[in-house]
């Protein structure tokens, strides 16, 4: 055996770098969080696996015709996958609570403040405009929107931003309650809100996605792909005539795309690109964006409480983010902690559904700002 044969046989070993080992460890950590903590396992497990597979020495999965690179090229580089996932989300989302309570739109808008505050902070910390906008969008707490926006503006930050967005989405029940408790009094948390049930006609339910698509599409053209897909899914759901398509979009399509998306995102987490101080800054800023969103939502809820003469539970403001329906559930849990027979869930769901639409619009606004 010649030396050359040896070096070829042992190429794997000799090409191990400390960065790749660290990234494999990061991948294992993500898989651990997915398996034992059930933190967004549907995404974090494929992302973790993608990170491991991409960081193995000389991995044939990345590069020309490598599985991971092919997945990235067909669906992440051109923004296809997040949009397909949005069709599934639309097919799963019931906008009924929002239609029953249209004023919740205000809370959805308030829940996006963190995005823009974080953007400014990231600019001050020296990130470029595109990077700062991509970091701010973590505050939408919306995976597909974050992937879509950062994929266009700052593809080199896709890995950390996606991991941050999905991790914080999983941490909604841990991150939100302290902020909510800090900003509200016991009396405010115990405010009861009568459930105002209004019959929403099927015609309204069908018109809603169409009107929103056309309205948002004209106002914020950059949001058209996201809102169009989200509302297409919702139109299919509410029309009740294409149940096979609705079912396929919310199950098979969403599941397959989630797997592909997770693997492709994981493969972007290369050692050299990921292991930089900037990654830590992104994670920290993303967390800040989330906290600011929650705070802004609760403070806006307090304002609505003052305006309504003490009849609005400010906790509901915290649900004005995109993490659906986790945010609304956390709000209900917090309200029930003060008063177990206080049910604000339906109001919170309305705010939460508004937050979902608003975060998409916010993504479009960011893209429009950066294009200008």
């Amino acid at each position: 055996m010649t030396d050359e044969t040896w070096s070829q046989l042992l190429a794997g070993l000799t090409n191990v770098t400390w960065q790749s080992l660290v990234m494999i460890a990061v991948g294992c950590l993500l898989i651990f969080l997915a398996v034992s903590r059930e933190y967004e396992p549907l995404l974090l497990l494929p992302i973790g696996a993608g990170a491991i597979l991409a960081n193995l020495p000389l991995s044939p999965l990345v590069g020309e015709h490598g599985l991971l690179s092919v997945l990235y090229d067909i669906g992440v580089g051109n923004e296809l996958f997040p949009l397909l996932i949005f069709i599934g989300i639309g097919a799963l989302t019931d906008f009924g609570p929002l239609l029953e309570n249209p004023k919740m739109v205000l809370l959805g808008a308030a829940g996006q403040f963190g995005i823009f505050l974080t953007l400014i902070l990231a600019l001050l910390l020296g990130f470029s405009r595109e990077e700062a906008a991509s970091i701010g969008i973590i505050g939408a707490i919306d995976g597909p929107t974050s992937i879509y926006v950062s994929g266009i503006l700052a593809p080199h930050l896709l890995g950390p931003i996606t991991v941050a967005a999905y991790s914080y989405m999983a941490l909604v029940p841990i991150i939100m309650p302290p902020v909510m408790r800090l900003l509200t009094t016991k009396q405010e948390r115990a405010i009861r809100m009568p459930y105002s049930q209004r019959q929403i006609s099927q015609r309204t339910r069908i018109l809603f996605p169409i009107v929103v698509t056309i309205g948002v599409g004209i106002l914020v053209p950059f949001a058209t792909p996201l809102i169009g897909c989200l509302m297409l899914g919702n139109l299919m759901r509410e029309s009740r005539v294409v149940e096979r398509l609705t079912h396929a979009a919310s199950n098979e399509l969403a599941n397959i795309v989630t797997l592909f998306l997770g693997l492709a995102i994981g493969s972007t987490m290369g050692g050299e690109a990921f292991l930089r101080p900037a990654t830590l800054a992104i994670l920290a800023l993303g967390l800040l964006a989330f906290v600011l969103d929650t705070a802004a939502g609760v403070l806006f809820g307090k304002l609505m409480n003052v305006v309504s003469g003490g009849k609005f539970n400010p906790l509901i403001g915290a649900a004005g983010i995109s993490a659906f329906p986790m945010a609304a559930r956390v709000v209900q849990k917090e309200a029930a902690r003060e008063d177990y027979s206080n049910f604000v869930l339906m109001h919170a769901m309305g705010a939460n559904a508004a937050g979902q639409v608003a975060s998409v619009v916010a993504g479009g606004v960011l893209l429009a700002l950066m294009a200008g």
């Binding site: 019931d94 459930y195 105002s196 609304a328 177990y340 339906m346």
Partner: protein
Amino acid sequence: MRRYTVKINDIEHTLDVEETARDRFVVHLGDRLVDVTLVDHEDLAQAQIAPAVEIPSSTGTRPLPAAVPSGASRPAAATQPTVRPRSNGIGRNTVAAPMPGVVLSIEVAPGAVVTRGQLLLVLEAMKMKNDIRAERDGVIASVSVAPGDQVRHGDPMIAYEG
């Protein structure tokens, strides 16, 4: 639309209460139309119950619910009967569904003695399990729902004795 025929100082009045939304009503009083918004309502269980009118069953009217205290002059009192249209107006003696959902499990049986805060049933709404707990001590008289039942807002689910 619900019609109440009440007698005040021997003069009979007919009130037609039309529910336009959960908290909004139109009250037809003679030829007057009054828009009523329900701001708040509570059941005053300790109040004296004085159903002074005998209701002829043929006219389709219902007795004023026990919860309306005699002599109550709050504007909300007129609309109170429609607030819990499906709870038979018993209020404090009934556990009504706080929101639409599906009954997942029932943790008490008729005859059970419950204390305030005790878990009565679990209601799944928007894919979230909600504990419905006893708001007072008491004895369960009847359970009118079964696991898997779909309930609407205000549907009576459990009744207390007494």
